[in-house]
């Protein structure tokens, strides 16, 4: 997993769930799309289908609007960019695509885990994800770009970064004489949780509640717990049970929590 920051980020943790590719009024286009790898696959929130262009070199998937939209993050997940030595970056255009500006620096990932780009707010009617495939062509299951939900605080004591110990089903083999003769595993993604307390009730209502609506659709989201200090630990997550109702931990403040499963 890779996180690219082009701003004075707080490091408080961010959730990327809003996506301009699925926002009302958007027109999505792609440079090319292979048969069975249509562009819609990149923003249908599903992890088993993919957008893949037909040619090497620069390819893009673009979200266009009639009016300017705000964005400060992009996320790419379910990809095999590293396998194809590909690079990727988000861009925006304020002149209907005549010229493009980088939202963040280009990334050539070293593995196929989730990529999270973060930058100061930009306002533009056109955004795109630009992929450069040098020799072979990578596929992408999820592309997000939009406004991230930034938590007011960092993670509290006791928080367990889920990327540190992915879930794995281990099976070892021992012979009749007790000799270790083999072992295998099935990687089962990650699971994680977070709790944030002392939140302004207004913040919860205006920020957390919309996220609950999204996550309980259910649709996945990208969570990065500290994009300043631990830039390799962003994950794609989804909830499998109801998110606990935010509660008043004191007379003035509220607490929210979240348990999720996901992948790196």
């Amino acid at each position: 997993m890779t996180i690219i920051i082009e701003s004075a980020s707080s490091g408080n943790g961010k959730i990327g769930y809003k996506n301009l590719f699925t926002t009302t009024g958007v027109t999505v286009t792609a440079s090319t799309e292979d048969t069975g790898y249509e562009k819609e696959n990149a923003y249908d929130w599903l992890g088993y289908d993919f957008w893949k262009p037909t040619a090497t070199g620069d390819s893009w998937i673009r979200a266009s609007f009639a009016s300017a939209q705000t964005a400060n993050y992009a996320a790419i997940w379910g990809h095999d960019l590293a396998d194809h030595a590909s690079s990727i970056k988000p861009q925006y255009s304020t002149n209907a695509g005549s010229t493009w500006n980088d939202c963040a620096s280009v990334v050539a990932p070293s593995d196929n885990s989730t990529i999270f780009f973060s930058w100061d707010d930009t306002s533009a009617a056109d955004y795109r994800i630009l992929v450069t495939n040098p020799t072979t062509i990578a596929a992408i299951a999820g592309a997000q770009i939009g406004e991230a939900l930034e938590l007011p605080y960092g993670m509290a004591v006791g928080f367990a970064p889920s990327a540190l110990s992915p879930m794995v089903d281990l099976k070892t083999a021992v012979s009749e004489k007790g000799v270790f003769i083999g072992g295998s595993k099935v990687r089962e993604g990650i699971e994680g949780s977070l709790t944030v307390d002392l939140l302004e009730p207004a913040w919860v209502r205006s920020n957390w509640s919309p996220f609950i609506d999204h996550a309980q659709t259910p649709k996945p989201f990208v969570f990065v717990w500290d994009d300043v200090n631990y830039s390799t630990e962003a994950v794609l997550g989804w909830v499998e049970n109801k998110i606990p109702t935010p509660n008043y931990s004191s007379e003035l403040y509220m607490k929210v929590s979240l348990r999720f499963k996901g992948t790196l």
Binding site: N41, Y48, S175, E176, V186
Partner: protein, 579 residues
């Protein structure tokens, strides 16, 4: 990285996937050869059931891939909806005692909403939102109701450093049924292709459609087929037919048959107009390999590519040269049943190798010369507490009777309908000092007429089952998968096999079953049967082979040498036997 390398790797990551290979039309609706004019929601889905121009439907196939859910899946359309592991009742051979059990695979798959991209070629022209309309399997089964007999591929392999489906063990089966959706799942059941030999699927010979035009008496030597013209379309110029319980040889001109009555031990009889005139299948000292090929390819309709002719002929030349079939099928019979009888009569195993996609044959025999068996030990191979030994005392015999030369082929295979019997006995083992009594196996074969073949069957059966065989099961890690091959032999060394002193003893077994089970990729289970032939066997040595005292160990194992009058060699070892 190869599959063998992945199987041996520490930290290997097993993955099972399934491919559903369904018929689809290669045309585009309303384009070119397709004359369909429907648009929008009325367009087809490129399947036969939804086709708007069946006359020009052009069949090809399309594979839908499903996998177990796990991380690091390849980035291609691969629905991760397999619930648990596919369950497999593995192929079981019998050690030359019948056809055995066909492999059955069941796969449970979750149902889920789907947007139809990659499934419906015209999804962008539909007026409805496919993701919000129905479910994947609900739509799939409605559009593809003709799934029976289509192919289910099961992919066994690993998520390696570089992923390639070509590194997987791909096994193919015939789809029998798809149940559901129930409880948000469907269940696919598939069997190996030898299921096509079942009576419900195919019979041999096929049912004839001609009838007698008029009554004939037991003395008549001509008959006329009805309806008119069927002789030239459905009947050969000569051969054997059955009417009622009478077998009749014939020659034909148009619809007129010239008859030689009362063949194959049957009695000439009167027959009535309208009686079916059934074409018979007959064999006259045909090698069993030839007969099997006819039953499977001509009878059951298996592609000839499924028959590894070279391997079959090698097995024939080595062990089945004297396995000559003489007999008749007077009425359509289940091919599975006939093959089972042939397996018992000529002592061979036959099974579907789902990976090689070939029907394999292995004659029951001592190990061929020069073969070094793989040795599996309790130190490095057999998984802890997994070896179970079951003594099969009911499968030990001191006498074998083979009844052959059937008298009346229209009657049942009872002993009193056979004219000859050959036997083999081991009175020493039946003596009071040993097993203290007889254990007799009676074999009736309607396919054997040769004394030597009957004697061979009796002798080989007795040699194989003179002592109580052990049926064993044990588990292995997949690193040892290449050591195990169906119907082949393996050597096992374990504390559960001990000599008189209590020291471990190495024993030889024939593999009857390889079960990937519910932990495919991690471990697998082997079932095997004692494979020791009583005695010492040999091949004829080539010219210039030295005498026994000067021969190499390999030559002693492979070839026969004349022993001393007392049945031993100068070094005290036993003389050889002819089998």
């Amino acid at each position: 990285m190869t599959l063998a390398t992945e199987r041996a790797k520490l930290g290997k990551e097993p993955l099972i996937a399934c491919g559903l290979v369904m018929d689809t039309c290669s045309l585009t609706a309303g384009v070119g050869l397709c004359t369909a004019t429907e648009t929008g929601d009325a367009k087809c889905y490129n399947t036969r059931a939804t086709c708007n121009d069946p006359t020009n439907y052009t069949k090809t196939t399309k594979e839908y891939l499903f996998s177990q859910p796990c991380s690091n899946l390849p980035k291609e359309t691969l629905f991760p909806v397999i619930v648990g592991s596919p369950k497999k009742a593995p192929t079981t051979t019998t050690g030359g005692s019948g056809l055995g059990r066909r492999s059955v695979v069941t796969v449970n798959l979750k149902d889920f909403p789907h947007h139809d991209r990659g499934v419906d070629p015209y999804y962008s022209e539909r007026t409805y939102n496919a993701f919000e309309t129905g479910t994947f399997w609900g739509k799939f089964l409605r559009r593809n109701p003709y799934y029976e007999g289509r192919t289910l591929k099961v992919y066994y392999g690993y998520i390696g450093d570089t992923f390639s489906w070509s590194d997987f063990d791909i096994q193919e089966y015939d789809i029998i049924d798809i149940e559901g959706p129930t409880n948000k799942q469907i269940k696919i059941t598939a069997k190996d292709v030898l299921v096509r030999t079942y009576g419900r699927k195919s019979q041999y010979p096929v049912l004839s459609s001609g009838e007698l035009l008029a009554d004939i008496t037991s003395a008549d030597t001509t008959a006329t087929l009805s309806p008119s013209g069927i002789g030239d379309t459905d009947y050969p110029a000569s051969g054997t037919i059955s009417i009622g319980s009478e077998a009749i040889s014939f020659t034909r001109s148009s619809d007129t048959l010239t008859l030689t009555r009362g063949q194959w031990g049957t009695a000439a009889d009167d027959h009535s107009a309208g009686d079916i005139v059934q074409i018979c299948a007959t064999w006259d000292e045909s090698n069993v390999i030839t007969v099997l090929n006819e039953l499977l390819v001509t009878g059951a309709g298996l592609p000839s590519a499924y028959i590894p002719t070279t391997d079959w002929e090698a097995e024939r030349d080595l062990w089945l040269t004297n396995s000559l079939v003489t007999g008749i099928l007077m009425k359509p019979e289940s091919i599975e049943k006939v093959i089972g009888e042939l397996s018992e009569s000529f002592m061979f195993d036959i099974w579907w190798d789902a990976t090689a996609q070939e029907v394999k044959i292995k004659a029951l025999s001592p190990e061929a010369s020069g073969v070094t068996l793989d040795l599996l030990t309790e130190d490095y191979h057999i998984k802890k507490d997994s070896l179970k030994v079951d003594r099969k005392s009911e499968d030990r015999y001191t006498e074998i009777q083979v009844w052959y030369k059937k008298v009346d082929y229209s009657e049942k295979n009872e002993i009193d309908n056979f004219s000859s019997v050959q036997g083999a006995a081991d009175p020493d083992r039946a003596s009071a000092d040993k097993y203290n009594g007889n254990s007799i196996k009676v074999i009736t074969s309607r396919w054997i007429i040769s004394q030597s073949t009957a004697l061979q069957l009796a002798g080989r059966t007795l040699a194989r089952f003179s002592d109580t065989p052990d049926m064993i099961t044990f588990k292995l890690d997949y690193k040892d998968y290449s050591k195990i091959n169906m119907a082949e032999r393996i050597s096992l060394n374990s504390w559960q096999f001990q000599d008189f002193s209590g020291a471990n003893e190495t024993r030889t077994f024939q593999v009857l079953e390889v079960d990937e089970g519910n932990d495919a990729g991690h471990e697998f289970t082997v079932k095997a049967l004692t494979s020791s032939f009583v005695g010492r066997y040999f091949f004829i040595a080539p010219d210039a082979t030295p005498d026994y005292s000067s021969a190499t160990e390999a030559q002693k194992q492979a070839y026969g040498f004349i022993c001393q009058a007392d049945g031993t060699f100068s070094d005290g070892s036993d003389g050889y036997k002819i089998i």
